[in-house]
Amino acid sequence: MGRAKIPRKSTNIDMTAMCDVAFLLLSFFILATKTKPPEAVAVVPPNSVSTKIAKENAILVTLTKEGKVFLLLGDKSHKNAILEDINTTRALGLSAAEMAKLKKMEFIGVPFNQLKGLLDLATPMEPAKMPGIPCVDSTNNELTDWIRSVANSYKGENMDNLNLLVKGDNAALYPAFKNIKESFKKNDIYKFKIVTNSEVPPPGSELANSAIKNKK
């Protein structure tokens, strides 16, 4: 009886295709990942059920645990105009070189009277060491001036372009937030957004029920 010959097959698989896929995925993930927006100081934002995603190019007001206020002018197209405006309206008398330095700075967190000194420093100060923009009460509220310049630079445009965000720490006290709110109000800005971490609406609540209804 002749035995049927089973041809021996090699167990080597061509790995080229798999390798291609792996590196394709890898490059996709690397390119698709957005870098985290810069943070002046660590801030733990509160949770909310809101599902709106924060837009880019925001004017961000950061409120830390200690009540320090920082300003980030994230809208590149308006940043120069805002800084020029604050230089003239507050008569800061910054030279062209100092202005150039200020434009490069990401976070603004010093009172006006320290701004010149800060810009003259050889090495830029870390945001965490800055004292914050004074925003204590209605008489000492420099944030109002900053927001005025922000509002001025958006004048004549659709105010919806102004993407004003407030990012506050959980433990920040309410009066600090109230003062920020006041500085917006003084400039006739009544709409702003609060940065939060998203959270699932509690089951059984009105919002969760309406979300289910909408799906159906």
């Binding site: 890898l26 509160p46 924060a54 006290l173 309410y174 940065v195 609540s205 009105e206 919002l207």
Partner: protein
Amino acid sequence: MAEIEKAKPANKNKKNAFVKRNTRVDLTPMVDLGFLLITFFVFTTTLSLPTVMSLNMPFDKVLPSDPICESCVLTILLEKDNVVKYYEGTPENNPAIKETTFDNNGIRNIIVQKRKAVQKLKGSADDFVMIIKPTDESNFQNFVDIIDEVAINNVKHYYTTEINDNLIRNKPAPGK
């Protein structure tokens, strides 16, 4: 492992025969490395993008004069250490001020019950009005949490005001 095997010269007689080499490289370790890196990147990237919550402040140069039914109002006071106090109706009538927390069975329950009561009374829960008064000792989280409760419970009208706000304190009771 890498199979770069010398293929035997086809013709031994020819000394200058062109030596064919198998150029196939074992790609298994490279694939391993690729997937390892993918897993690393997937795990290290934080997927949670920050979300935003809109907040519209009232244009309070003109005080609102909407008539509000007194029994539709729930006033919530945010106090120190995450304590929430609340009362129904206007402060002129000296309502009982009760205390609760931000727990799941805390203020949310109160809002839900009040909302239902208003629905029974007025036929629509849209008449329910929430007044939020954060004290100076409350923190930012308390404020965001209570605004969040507004969204969670689909409250149509709410006002925020400060307790020491003279304007509000001296305001005649709504509905007069």
